[in-house]
C-alpha cells in the first residue's frame, strides 16, 4: 500500500441561507506513510475545510463528496460510530488557537488522557503514566505537577505543547495540524514546528500541515499542495516545488514570502483573496488576479498538467 491517505476529487459545499458556498471544489492528493504534506493557501482557500472534511468535523449543512481513502477505506462512507473510532485514535488533529482549544474547567492531565480512555486503549493508571510521559516528551518540565493543573495556568506555547501531547498520545498514523503556530509568538513558532518534526521522525507519524506560510511549508514538508479558491493550483515534492514552480499563483506566493539567505525584494500579490460565494464553477479561480491571464482562463477549467509522477500544475500556460 503506497499511500496512507488518498483524497480523490473532494468537494465540500456549504448549503446556507445565502446560497451554496463551494469551500472545497474537487481536490485530489496523496500522502505516503511517514511523510509530511503541507497545504498552503490564503485564508478562504478552503485548506482548513478540506482537512475538517477528512475528520468529518463540519456542521450538518455541509455536504462532502468524493473519496477520502484512509488505508484504502473510504472515510466518507463511514457511519458516525465508525468515524468516531478513527478520530483521536488513528487520525488526530491540532488546532490553530491553543488558548481556546482546551476546556478551562478540566484538568490538563484529564484532557490529555481522554483519547486513550475514550478509545479504551488503556486503563486509567496506564493512561496517567502515558500522559505524564507525553508531557515530558513535548518538553513540559515537572510534568507530574503540571498534570493536575488547569489550562489557565499554562502559557500559549505550553498549551500548544499540551495539544500536541494530547494528539499524539494514542499514537495515530496521521496527525493533522491546522495552522498550529499562527497564533503563537515567532520564537515559540519555531520551537513548536521543531517539536512536531522531532516527534514525527521518532514515531513515523504522517503529518498534514495546514499553513499560509510557504517558508514554513518548504522547511518541514516532503510534499506541498497549493490551494486557491477551493481548488488545487499546483502540487509537487518540496524539491520540485523550489526548483521549478510553475503556477502564477505559486510564483506570487514565493515572491511575497521571505526566504532565508536571499536578498530578493518582496512583492505582494495584487488584488484580494476570492470571496467563495462569488466563485464560478467554470474557469480558473485565480484568473482575476493572474498577471498572465489569457481569455480562455475565465471560460474553461484549467487542464491538469503532469510534469512528473509527483508534480502537477493546473494552468493553461503549460498546454
Amino acid at each position: 500500500m503506497e499511500y496512507l491517505l488518498e483524497v480523490k476529487d473532494l468537494k465540500t459545499h456549504f448549503y446556507t441561507k445565502k446560497g451554496v458556498i463551494k469551500a472545497v471544489n474537487g481536490i485530489s492528493y496523496g500522502l505516503k506513510r511517514g511523510q509530511t504534506l503541507s497545504i498552503v493557501g490564503e485564508s478562504g482557500s478552503g485548506k482548513s475545510v478540506s482537512v475538517l472534511s477528512i475528520m468529518r468535523l463540519l456542521p450538518t449543512y455541509a455536504k462532502v463528496n468524493g473519496k477520502i481513502l484512509f488505508e484504502g477505506n473510504n472515510l466518507l462512507s463511514y457511519d458516525d460510530r465508525k468515524i468516531k473510532r478513527i478520530r483521536g485514535n488513528r487520525i488526530s488533529m491540532i488546532f490553530q488557537d491553543p488558548m481556546s482549544s482546551l476546556n478551562p474547567t478540566v484538568k490538563i492531565g484529564q484532557q490529555i488522557m481522554e483519547p486513550l480512555l475514550w478509545h479504551h486503549k488503556a486503563s486509567k493508571r496506564e493512561a496517567r503514566q502515558k500522559a505524564i510521559q507525553m508531557l515530558t516528551e513535548v518538553g513540559i518540565p515537572s510534568a507530574k505537577e503540571r498534570f493536575d493543573q488547569y489550562p489557565f495556568e499554562f502559557s500559549g506555547g505550553m498549551r500548544q505543547r499540551v495539544m500536541i501531547a494530547m494528539a499524539l498520545i494514542s499514537e495515530p498514523e496521521l496527525l493533522i495540524a491546522d495552522e498550529p503556530t499562527t497564533s503563537l509568538d515567532v520564537t515559540v513558532q519555531a520551537q513548536i514546528l521543531q517539536l512536531i518534526r522531532k516527534i514525527q521522525e521518532k514515531r513515523g507519524t504522517s503529518v498534514i500541515l495546514i499553513t499560509h506560510n510557504l517558508a514554513v511549508a518548504t522547511m518541514v514538508s516532503d510534499y506541498i499542495v497549493v490551494m486557491y479558491g477551493g481548488r488545487i493550483v499546483e502540487k509537487a515534492t518540496t524539491e520540485e516545488f523550489l526548483k521549478n514552480p510553475l503556477h502564477p499563483y505559486t510564483f506570487g506566493l514565493l515572491n511575497s514570502t521571505p526566504v532565508l539567505k536571499s536578498r530578493k525584494t518582496l512583492s505582494p500579490i495584487p488584488g484580494q483573496p476570492p470571496d467563495l460565494r462569488e466563485l464560478e464553477d467554470i474557469g480558473c479561480p485565480f484568473a482575476k488576479r493572474c498577471p498572465k491571464k489569457m481569455p480562455r482562463c475565465e471560460k474553461e477549467n484549467p487542464p491538469e498538467i503532469n510534469l512528473s509522477n509527483t508534480h502537477t500544475v493546473y494552468c493553461w500556460l503549460y498546454t
Binding site: K84, N89, F95, S100, S101, N103
Partner: protein
C-alpha cells in the same frame, strides 16, 4: 475569599436590620391592635369590652407599654436569638415554635420542587440545545417561556383540573400523605423548570460553539463524552447561580400554593397572620423569610466559588 465572605455577611446583617426597622415602623403606624385582633378572631364585631387591667396585662406581655424604640431594641435582641415571643392569635405558644413546626413543610415543598425542576429542566435544556432551531427546540422554548411567566397558583389551577379532575391521577385536596405533595410540588416546579431549561439551552448553545468542544469531537468523543462530560460541566457550575435564587424565592412563593391547597406550612400561617393583623407574627415571619432568602443566596454564591476552579485557585493564590 475570606474578605468576600466577611463583606457579604456584613451586608446581610445590615440588610436584615433595615428590613426589621422598616417593618417595625410600618407596623407601628398601622391601625389596629391586639384587642382588634381578638375581636376579628372571635368574629364578635360590635361589642368587645375589655377590662382595663386585662388590657394592661396584655400590653405588658407584648411590651406594648414601653416606648417604641425600646420595643424595637427588644425585638432585635430577641430576633438575633431566634426568639419572637407569643403571637396575638396563639398567645399560648411562641412564634419561633410555630415557625419551627410549619417552615419545614414549606421548605420541603420548595426543595422538592427545585429537585424536580432540575431533573426535568436539565435534560430538556440539553435536548433543546443539541436540537437547536428544530421544532423540538421551538416547543421547549415556548413551554419554558409560559412556565416562567405564569404564577404558580395559576399553574396549580390547570394542574388540578387536568391531573385531578379529568384524569383522576392524584387527589386535589387533603394533606398528610405523600400523594398530596404531587400537585403542589408540580405547580411550584413549573416556573423553575422554565428558567432552568432556558438557562441550560442558552449556556450549552454557547459552549457547543467553543473551540475546545470541536477538539473534543476531534478526539473521538461522542454525545456522552463531548456534550455530557465537557460541555455540560461548564454549564452546570453556573447553574447554581440560577437555582439558588429560585430556591430562595420559591420558599416565599409557597405562600400562594399553600393557601390554594390548604397546606399547613409557614406561608399559610403568614397570610392568616396578615389578615388578622397579628403583628408580632407578621414581623417575625417577615424577618425570618428575609433571612432565609439572603442566607440561601449567600450559601449558593459560596458554593459557586468553591466549585469553579478558576475562582478557587485565584483566590487561593491571592491568599
Amino acid at each position: 475569599m475570606l474578605k468576600y465572605v466577611v463583606k457579604r455577611i456584613g451586608f446581610i446583617i445590615i440588610a436584615l436590620f433595615f428590613v426589621s426597622l422598616i417593618t417595625f415602623i410600618l407596623i407601628k403606624s398601622a391601625p389596629g391592635n391586639y384587642v382588634e385582633t381578638e375581636r376579628l378572631l372571635s368574629q364578635n364585631v360590635t361589642d368587645v369590652t375589655v377590662p382595663p387591667e386585662v388590657k394592661a396585662a396584655w400590653e405588658k406581655a407584648y411590651h406594648l407599654d414601653k416606648p417604641a424604640w425600646q420595643q424595637f431594641l427588644i425585638f432585635i435582641a430577641n430576633a438575633a436569638r431566634f426568639e419572637f415571643g407569643p403571637s396575638f392569635q396563639y398567645p399560648s405558644t411562641t412564634i419561633e415554635k410555630i415557625i419551627m413546626r410549619t417552615f419545614p413543610i414549606s421548605f420541603r415543598l420548595a426543595v422538592m420542587a427545585i429537585g424536580l425542576a432540575l431533573i426535568i429542566g436539565i435534560p430538556l435544556g440539553i435536548i433543546a440545545a443539541v436540537k437547536k432551531d428544530t421544532i423540538v427546540d421551538r416547543i421547549a422554548i415556548l413551554l419554558s417561556m409560559i412556565g416562567t411567566s405564569l404564577p404558580n397558583y395559576v399553574m396549580a389551577v390547570f394542574l388540578i383540573y387536568v391531573l385531578a379532575l379529568e384524569l383522576h391521577l392524584v387527589p386535589s385536596i387533603g394533606w398528610g400523605e405523600p400523594k398530596h405533595y404531587v400537585l403542589p410540588v408540580l405547580s411550584l416546579a413549573i416556573g423553575p423548570i422554565g428558567s432552568i431549561t432556558r438557562y441550560m439551552r442558552a449556556s450549552l448553545v454557547e459552549t457547543l460553539n467553543r473551540e475546545y468542544i470541536r477538539v473534543a469531537w476531534a478526539k473521538g468523543g461522542g454525545f456522552r463524552e463531548v456534550v455530557l462530560k465537557h460541555a455540560l460541566r461548564n454549564s452546570l457550575i453556573p447553574l447554581i447561580t440560577v437555582v439558588g435564587p429560585q430556591l430562595a424565592y420559591l420558599t416565599v412563593g409557597t405562600v400562594f400554593v399553600e393557601n390554594l391547597f390548604n397546606i399547613p406550612g409557614l406561608g399559610k400561617f403568614y397570610a392568616t397572620a396578615a389578615i388578622y393583623r397579628d403583628y408580632p407574627m407578621v414581623m417575625g415571619t417577615t424577618v425570618f423569610f428575609a433571612t432565609i432568602v439572603m442566607l440561601t443566596n449567600f450559601i449558593v454564591d459560596i458554593i459557586y466559588g468553591i466549585l469553579d476552579p478558576r475562582i478557587r485557585k485565584r483566590s487561593m493564590m491571592e491568599g
